[in-house]
């Protein structure tokens, strides 16, 4: 596939990837620091290029329900927002998960709680991977660390969404959304024809031909035993994701005595801290979870038997660290270092935290 080099913001990369990946519809509502997603789409006018629908909705609540409507009709549809907007979307997300609708969601996280700040944060981890809406459900969650990954994960997101009939979340943050980097973009992937939709999504509501029964998209079941059965089906799907779809990256872990566990922007800062640590003679490496659900439990369990300590580095007061502790079962010291509320840690702070909290302790 031909590749073209561009310089773009992470948010623009999401929009560009949407157009080039055969997305049928984007529904959104402006919020800092992700507004460039819709701004780029509106400027590019993809309805003239690919037929993609772009609509500015009256609220995040409306946006997520537009996603529900489009996804239920078998189309590749998406939305993006930032933390306060994503909180408003939680109702829609649990309905999407319950009705098993494939779609793409993007959260360019900012500092909370409440209206919080507009600076980068990773404090929406719990909301995303534990299920911010009601009921037992999971979002397949991808954590990009570069503008290139913002682009690539849109494609991977569609693949996972339709493979598992499940909503996919790209959990980014204000730094990755706003930073400009070079990225390679791919050729335009054509949108699915209505015939392809009927073939790939035979469950969807594209209009009932006389040859089949009517399709119904709903998350409602009045009989409890049937709803339990539906829940078992969902759980089996999530278990399959945990078995087959875990993705992570390791940096300098071969001989590491200490390992940072960090995703997204924090992983890039931690990677620099690895370099600083190595210069000081500290054998430190980095494990970067790429999928946050499914979480890379096995490799963390493995590392915990080999290293002298793990430091979870997050722009939160300590969320992912709970999953690291569960995976590592306290086989080695596990600590957390975070700056939050929109503050980004420096690599020096991260290295110092490793020395203070684990090496000297």
């Amino acid at each position: 596939m031909a590749k073209e080099l561009k310089l773009m913001k992470g948010n623009e990369a999401i929009a560009e990837a949407a157009i080039r990946s055969g997305c049928d519809g984007y529904f959104g509502y402006p919020i800092t620091p992700q507004s460039e997603v819709m701004e780029h789409l509106m400027a590019e006018k993809p309805w003239e290029k690919t037929g993609m629908v772009v609509l500015q909705a009256e609220s995040e609540t409306a946006s997520i329900n537009m996603v529900y409507g489009g996804a239920g009709a078998g189309k590749k549809v998406m939305t993006s927002s930032s933390s306060p907007g994503v909180s408003l979307m939680q109702e829609g997300m649990t309905y999407l998960a319950g009705a098993e609708l494939p779609c793409l969601l993007v959260n360019v996280v900012r500092g909370g709680p409440g209206l919080g700040t507009i600076q980068p944060s990773q404090a929406d981890y719990f909301q995303t991977v534990k299920g911010g809406g009601h009921g037992d459900y999971r979002l397949f969650t991808l954590a990009p660390a570069t503008v290139q990954e913002m682009y690539d994960f849109v494609f991977l997101g569609w693949e996972m969404a339709f493979k598992y009939r499940n909503p996919v979340m790209i959990l980014s943050d204000g730094a990755i959304g706003q930073v400009m980097e070079k990225l390679y973009v791919t050729d335009y992937t054509p949108r699915w024809t209505n015939e392809e939709i009927a073939e790939k999504c035979p469950w969807s509501t594209y209009g009932k031909p006389s040859t089949r029964k009517h399709n119904i998209i709903t998350s409602l079941e009045l009989e409890a035993p049937k709803q339990e059965e539906h829940n078992h089906k969902l759980q089996a799907k999530y278990a399959k994701m945990e078995e087959d779809e875990v993705r992570y990256e390791m940096v300098n872990c071969e001989d590491a005595e200490y390992v940072f566990v960090a995703y997204g922007s924090s992983a890039r800062i931690a990677e620099k801290a690895v370099q600083l640590g190595r210069e000081k003679g500290i054998k430190v490496g980095l494990l970067r979870p790429i999928t946050l659900f499914p979480f890379p439990k096995k490799i963390i369990a493995e590392l915990s038997t080999k290293v002298k300590g793990l430091l979870a580095v997050e722009m939160s007061a300590g969320q992912m660290v709970e999953d690291v502790r569960l995976a590592a079962q306290f086989r080695c010291p596990i600590e957390h270092f975070g700056r939050f509320g929109g503050v980004i840690p420096t690599p020096h702070e991260v290295l110092e935290a490793l020395e203070e909290k684990i090496i000297k302790a």
Partner: protein, 259 residues
Amino acid sequence: MFNPDIIKPENLVYKRTSVLTDNVMHYCPGCGHGTIHRLIAEVIEEMGIQEKAICVAPVGCSVLAYNYFDVDSQGAAHGRAPAIATAIQRLYPDNHTFTYQGDGDLAAIGTAETIHACNRGENIVMIFVNNGIYGMTGGQMAPTTLIGMKTATSPYGRDVALNGHPLKITELLADLPGTYYVTRQSVQNAASVRKAKKAIRQAFENQKAKKGTSFVEVVSNCNSGWKMTPVAANKWMEENMFPFYPLGDMKVDGQKVSK
């Protein structure tokens, strides 16, 4: 005596529409929902648009509407049907997406979605069944509950000081530039059923011609929630609901109808 020999195509004067499924409806005897469902289904059949019709069902008494319409359907979260229908219709512009909502769904929790879908002029048909009460949850006060009307959450009657005013959302929608057709109908007797069907047909014809939003309110009863017999409920509706919610067209061909 029943004579089976008379069952011949040439003797057929009426049959149940094939756009309704064989599922037994759960609605209370005397409720208007069953009639309104039938009218929509008949219009879909007569226009030959079953393969293009997409129903978006609400939360409320008609939450299971998708079990009765033999068309592809989606069940919406409470109040969100117009947003869902917006996306479906924009993604399939030649389809016939329609919403079916009650007063709590459309005029309370979903007010924003209702107003904005109408104001954008989405090419959808919206059916609004207004019986002035929350039926499914057991008869609580609705946004359209009349002043003085007793419900489970206004047991001494709706009091403006305590509960605010009933919302005439249909009048409000008729003022929006995006709506092309806005009408208020009822289905309590044969004449009103015929008029309501004509209005529903007009709404789907407008959609076919891509004219924008067509909105059909049907003022209906809730004999269970109102705690009346079906006959008494219809009488009460005529005497109390119709004066406050007057029947007739409010907007035709994009023009307000002057009264």
